[in-house]
């Protein structure tokens, strides 16, 4: 494991410059273990995170702070298990 990832918090700063999360319904595609989710989730109405990696999703679920409105689902981005027009904002996170 790397000693540190982004201690300068450039990702967080840029994410918040590009998106207004306040009161938004957010879908994060490729949420992994929630590392990025925690950088904005508190301000949202709710966050749904999807990923294919069950182990990462388990970590995200365990580490979710109790005051953060987030849930995590194992799903593929080519078949997103939510209704039409459910979200105000989508984040494609680190999709290589």
């Amino acid at each position: 494991m790397p000693l540190l990832k982004d201690p300068e918090r450039t990702e967080r700063k840029n994410l918040h410059r590009f998106a207004d999360f306040a009161g938004k319904r957010v879908l994060e595609i490729g949420c992994g273990d929630g590392r990025m989710t925690w950088q904005y989730a508190k301000q949202t109405k709710f966050v749904a995170g999807i990923d294919l990696e069950a182990d990462d999703l388990r970590v995200a679920t365990i580490e979710r702070p109790s005051d953060v409105p987030a849930s995590f689902v194992r799903a593929d981005s080519i078949r997103i298990p939510f209704a039409n027009e459910k979200f105000d904002l989508a984040i494609l996170a680190w999709s290589f």
Binding site: M1, P2, L3, L4, K5, D6, P7, E8, T10, E11, N14, L15, F18, A19, R25, L27, I29, M36, S77, I78, R79, I80, F82, A83, N84, E85, K86, F87, D88, L89, A90, I91, L92, A93, W94, S95, F96
Partner: protein, 139 residues
């Protein structure tokens, strides 16, 4: 990614936004960083799979734009740093997590090790990943 973009468009409300945040292959710099100075000691080599992934993602977004699914509102690049305590820890991480997208050639590896050997006591080794962030609006 084309199919994913169709799905994202479906679940986004009218005027919803998509943030595309991802690393770009660009022979990321390897640096020795201490409180006193930052020194670039080499560059990683991009592998075809990483470059193809970049190309495919860019093409998918361009297609979505051409088909008027999304319109690009803002795009910028910024650095994202990974830090390690030693060259071996960095190499181990690269081999485990990035072996399909980047590699480090022998000359660069030797240079990293020799520069690390004379680095300041508080130095850390880091890789500067080029990140792209784009905000798209659903049309």
């Amino acid at each position: 990614m084309v199919h994913a973009l169709n799905e994202i468009q479906r679940v986004l409300a009218p005027n919803g936004s998509l943030i595309d945040l991802r690393p770009m292959m660009s022979n990321w710099a390897i640096e020795v960083a201490s409180m006193r100075e930052v020194q670039e000691v080499g560059r990683v080599s991009d592998l075809p799979e990483g470059l193809e992934d970049d190309h495919a993602a860019n093409e998918s977004m361009a297609k979505a734009e051409a088909q008027k699914q999304f319109v690009r509102e803002q795009e910028e690049f910024f650095p994202f740093f990974y830090y390690w305590d030693s060259p071996n820890e960095m190499k181990e991480y690269m081999d485990e997590d990035w072996s399909d997208i980047i590699t480090i050639d022998e000359d660069t590896w030797k240079n990293v090790q020799s520069m690390w050997a004379v680095a300041n006591a508080d130095a850390r080794l880091r890789i500067r990943v080029k990140m792209m962030i784009t905000r798209w609006k659903k049309i």
